[in-house]
């Protein structure tokens, strides 16, 4: 069934009597189990797109359909991982992961949580509170918590953005492993071009609220950032994003 985004428009302000669109005429079709990276500079509307997918925002025009149902507000079928881990500070690691399961009153809450804790390798920390975790650990708990209620898609808003370079590298590999294990559809927002090329099945480049490019990455996994083919993707994407900047500069010069 997959996710379908049709004719999506979103504006926050009205300038000179015209709505100033943050997203304008965005159309996307995503298959189940695909890893989609949404790439763009800050202010290109990528976070807005994710918030619309999550249901925190409502489209002004157009619609988002997930498995045949139009999205209307947040729900447990779309798990979200935030840049700041957003764990509940008063719950331990285990309680955070069990949160979604308990709401569904599932019988196998404990076993499911144990499995997820093992998957993220934090067995020794299951009774620790979020303040006691490092940034990378907290983010892994965030991912496990989002996966727990078994959502159809996982939405990630620059989840690695707040991590240091070394942890980030390790988390990318971890993320691919988790994705392959769970088989979820993932929407992953990033402004790092190599990160997008490393992770994604498809990279969607947003530029000023429009889809600039939608490119499938045809590289075998695990990917090597030093490969020539990898670098070619990175260069071409970087050029696409940079073009806007030269245009902007030209406008400013006038």
């Amino acid at each position: 069934m997959g996710t379908v985004i049709e004719y999506l428009h979103k504006a926050f302000d009205i300038v000179d009597g015209e709505p100033k669109f943050v997203l304008e005429d965005v159309n996307l079709k995503v298959q189940d189990g695909e890893f989609i990276c949404i790439l763009g500079k800050s202010g290109c509307g990528k976070s807005t797109l994710l918030n619309l997918l999550a249901g925190y925002l409502k489209p002004d025009k157009g619609r988002i359909v997930l498995n045949g149902e139009e999205i209307d507000g947040p729900s447990a079928d779309r798990g979200v991982v935030f840049q700041q881990h957003a764990l509940f500070p008063w719950y331990t690691v285990r309680e955070n992961i069990e949160f979604g399961l308990r709401l569904q009153k599932r019988q196998d809450t404990k076993e499911m949580a144990t499995k997820l804790i093992e998957m993220i390798g934090l067995q020794d920390y299951e009774h620790a509170y979020p303040v006691e975790l490092s940034g990378g650990m907290a983010q892994r708990v965030g991912i496990a918590r989002a996966l727990a209620p078994d959502p159809a898609v996982l939405l990630m808003d620059e989840p690695l953005g707040a991590l240091d370079a070394l942890t980030r590298e390790a988390m990318r590999q971890e993320l691919i492993r988790i994705w392959q294990l769970s088989g979820k559809t993932i929407f992953f927002i990033t402004h790092s071009v190599p990160e997008a090329v490393y992770l994604a099945d498809r990279v969607v480049i947003l530029k000023e609220g429009r889809v600039e490019a939608d490119v499938a990455i045809d590289l075998p996994r695990p990917r090597n950032m030093r490969d020539k083919a990898f670098q070619d993707y990175v260069d071409s994407f970087a050029r696409m994003i940079a073009e806007t900047e030269t245009e902007e500069r030209a406008v400013c010069a006038e």
Partner: protein, 300 residues
């Protein structure tokens, strides 16, 4: 001076390799955290000692006063006299009555005030309509000193317990309300978003996210309001009561019994301290999640 410094530096360097081997064998490595815990215990001891000193100095001054005849000793009774007075009260059976009555009024008024503030605070913080209807009134009436209302409370609720407890409850209610509304409104919207995306209903978000997040602030409010609760208690007992620690003070004033006044004041202080300590204890137990990772800004 400068040369001296240089010399000592060289000396250190020179000696260091010889000593280091021994030092490593003998000295155990104790993480700073444990050292810090030990120090916290020592701190507690010193704090208890400070109280002891306070009474010693008080005793000493009144002793010197009696010896030196600086002023009438009745003005400053010594701690021993106060304890003797307490013993007298205990013997005629009224000490427990007075302490008990004060505690009963305080705890009932405090609980009613907190409960009322919880209900109204949640209404105001969660609903725009109630906010519009109630906030302007509370903003206008709230800042009026509680004690200005005492005569009105006496007329409305009579001279019995109701007026006193109502005043104490109201004195607790006003500051509590501000903390409760603040606590609820300060909830991180990101946490509400993530709870929604995990499938929580509005009611579940309220009970599992908003209340949990507001709780530390509510407790802080309880500790802050406690001082006002106690002032209201004493004032209420000073007007139209026949028991309680505030009553002892007024009654002692009429008979010029300074020791009784000091006794009552000390007991009020003690009751306050004990209840405050109790709240702190509950707070520590409840909010381990907050303290867990915290440490000194800089290790000492």
């Amino acid at each position: 001076m400068c040369r001296m410094k240089d010399m000592s530096y060289v000396d250190e360097l020179y000696i260091a390799p010889c000593v280091q081997g021994d030092l490593l064998e003998e000295e155990e490595i104790v993480p700073r955290k444990y050292e810090e815990a030990r120090r916290a215990k020592v701190d507690k001891f010193y704090k208890a000692l400070a109280l002891f000193y306070f009474f010693c100095i008080w005793e000493f001054i009144s002793y010197l006063n009696v010896r030196g005849g600086w002023f009438n000793p009745v003005f400053l009774p010594s701690p021993v006299t106060v304890v003797e007075t307490a013993y007298e009260y205990l013997l005629n059976g009224t000490l427990v009555l007075h302490i008990g009555m004060s505690f009963y009024r305080m705890i009932l008024g405090f609980l009613l005030g907190v409960a009322g503030a919880l209900v109204v605070g949640i209404m105001i913080a969660m609903s725009r309509t109630w906010d519009n209807l109630l906030s302007p009134i509370i903003n206008m009436v709230g800042p009026i000193p509680v004690f200005a209302f005492l005569p009105m409370f006496l007329i409305w609720f009579g001279i019995g317990e109701a007026s006193k407890i109502a005043l104490i409850a109201y004195a607790t209610f006003v500051p509590m309300l501000i903390y409760i509304i603040g606590g609820i409104r300060e909830t991180d919207p990101l946490l509400i978003r993530s709870a929604k995306s995990l499938g929580a209903t509005s009611f579940q978000i309220f009970t599992k996210v908003i209340l949990n997040s507001a709780m530390p602030k509510i407790f802080e409010g309880m500790k802050m309001s406690l001082a006002l609760t106690f002032s209201a208690l004493v004032v209420a007992e000073m007007m139209g009561a026949s028991s309680g620690l505030g009553y002892i003070i007024v009654n002692a004033k009429n008979w010029f019994k300074m020791a009784d006044m000091f006794l009552a004041a000390t007991l009020i202080g003690l009751e306050y301290t004990l209840f405050y300590a109790f709240l702190t204890l509950v707070e520590r137990r409840l909010f381990r999640w907050k303290m867990a990772g915290s440490s000194n800004a800089v290790e000492k």
